[in-house]
């Protein structure tokens, strides 16, 4: 059988050995850590919007693999269902009906939304809880829910508006890039399931190279502005898109044109993170209060104000 270039293997069930772990952290929220002894090869997920048929297999596989279930809601006049990302739904097909002004043809743009796994992660930088957000040297940005205080700063710090806070356990959730699968040499569940291989997974170098072949094909079909979305404002991402109209990312359900971490995050990080919030970090260390108190209540009004500014920060 000839193989697809980036086919993902079947999960094994015995003698599972891990390929990376705690020793590979390069960043840890509200902490300083020793640089790891090795640098893992950066990995990436490439989402080719032009191959996507909007089937939501990625959403189904994500829910199934992560043992999450989204509530059965309503239809409010869109195929984008559930209506937003949620603590259960880490990824979401966002549907946009767009009339191309140059051809007057309808294009149904379908973008799989979810964590971009930024090389320079705004969520992690904004996070005041030590170790609640970590970054591995292969590019995964992951949340440690046991350490999360539910303050919502990660939401504010994210230029893509991805993390969601659970109303039940007051912790932040988002795509893990299936860190549990990757840890034993598997690819993410969404990429494995994707019927048209619109989602592929490999090293970032391979994905970039693969994107070039896709862009060439799209240009042969008249998409002169086809291109790769790997925004430099966040140091590049470990989830990238091939877009038919890379000159206008905003037409894809408001994908930011030039995402950057708000300067407020860096400012706040310096001024308040290790000083003003030291007490809060202490409370977290006891690991008691956050089970009884709404997360945001444990930050100061000043922090709240800063967070508000962040949320209102224009994203594109």
């Amino acid at each position: 059988m000839t193989t697809f270039e980036y086919e993902l293997p079947n999960p094994q069930t015995e003698d599972v050995k891990t390929v990376f772990g705690q020793q590979d952290l390069i960043r840890r929220s509200a902490s300083t850590i020793e640089p790891p002894a090795r640098q893992l090869t950066p990995m990436a997920k490439l989402i080719d919007v032009s191959k996507c048929i909007g089937c939501k297999a990625c959403q189904a596989a994500c829910l199934e693999w992560n043992d999450k279930r989204a509530p059965v809601g309503e239809n409010v006049g869109t195929y984008t269902i559930p209506p937003d990302l949620s603590p259960q739904m880490f990824t979401l097909m966002r549907f946009t009906e767009w009339i191309n002004p140059e051809t007057d043809n309808l294009e149904w743009l379908i973008r799989k939304d979810g964590c971009m796994h930024c090389a320079d992660p705004g969520c992690l930088k904004a996070c005041p809880a030590p170790g609640a957000i970590v970054q591995y040297s292969n590019g995964i940005v992951d949340f440690d829910h046991e350490r999360c205080i539910g303050c919502g700063y990660c939401v504010a710090g994210c230029p893509f508006n991805i993390p969601r806070i659970s109303k039940t356990d007051h912790r932040a959730y988002k795509c893990t890039l299936c860190s549990d699968r990757m840890a034993i040499g598997q690819g993410p569940a969404c990429a494995k399931s994707c019927p048209t291989h619109a989602i592929v997974f490999g090293t970032k170098a391979e994905m970039t190279e693969h994107a070039e072949t896709r862009i060439k094909d799209l240009k042969s079909r008249g998409y002169q502005n086809a291109g790769l979305y790997d925004p430099p404002g966040v140091g590049g991402t470990h989830v990238m898109y091939v877009l038919q109209h890379a000159d206008k990312p905003e037409i894809y359900a408001d994908l930011p044109n030039n995402p950057v971490i708000s300067p407020v995050v860096n400012l706040w990080k310096g001024a308040a993170k290790y000083a003003g919030l030291a007490a809060m970090a202490g409370m977290v260390a006891f690991g008691v209060l956050h089970r009884f108190v709404e997360g945001p209540n444990r930050v100061t009004p000043k922090d709240e104000e800063e967070a508000k500014q962040l949320t209102e920060d224009p994203r594109s």
Binding site: M1, P9, P11, Q12, W65, S179, G185
Partner: protein
């Protein structure tokens, strides 16, 4: 062998050489000298949930692309154990679907464990507003009797012109569209041997 950086590269294409399947993957990973799962996991990463499950090859029950699937069960039915499905994923060795699944296939687990799965034979008596649980013996005896009585009463051996026709058209049977060929043949034999003509499957709708 490989240096440390190469470890991770192997997650992508070279590591996933086709036809290899799980066995080979484990071997090459093991050769890299990493320790057990507990040792190397990180705080943020949840334990791999398929450890110790049994894999069974199957085919998706929905459309006729017939994607290959792997069913991961707790317990091994081939060893006479009680087995419960924990996860279903596409089979990368299958030539058609190559490990992929659509949103129906990717959620097969919820079909298997649907709250509305039937567990016991039930009867609803004429005029009643509810189902009552009955035994298999009761249900099968009663259905056999109802079918036989109707057949005996309405079977047509000869038509008006005196031609032997041996048909039964006062009862009908609608066959499934997702049962196996073997079930289909079994059903065919039972239904046609009784002379039933009102017999169809879902091909027409």
């Amino acid at each position: 062998m490989a240096d440390i950086a190469d470890t991770d590269t192997r997650i992508s294409r070279r590591f996933f050489l086709k036809g290899a399947g799980a066995g080979v993957a484990v071997t090459s990973l093991g050769a890299l000298g990493f320790g057990g799962i507990e040792a190397a996991y990180a705080d943020s990463i949840r334990p791999f949930k398929l450890l110790g499950t049994t894999i069974t090859r199957n085919t998706c029950t929905y459309c006729s692309v017939a994607c290959g699937i792997l069913i991961y069960s707790k317990g091994d039915i081939t060893k006479g154990e009680k087995a419960e499905v924990k996860h279903i994923e596409g089979d990368v060795d299958h030539p058609t679907n190559r490990g992929t699944l659509c949103p129906k296939g990717a959620a097969l687990l919820d079909f298997v464990h649907a709250k509305t799965r039937l567990e016991y034979p039930m009867v609803r008596r004429p005029g009643s507003d509810k189902f009552e649980r009955v035994t298999w013996d009761y249900a099968l005896d009663r259905i056999a009797r109802l079918l036989k009585d109707d057949r005996d009463k309405n079977f047509i051996e000869k038509n008006a012109a005196g031609v032997t026709v041996n048909r039964w058209v006062s009862s009908g049977f609608l066959a499934a569209s997702a049962t196996t060929n073997e079930t289909a043949f079994c059903t065919f034999k039972v239904v046609r041997s009784m002379g039933m003509l009102m017999f169809d499957n879902q091909a027409r709708v």
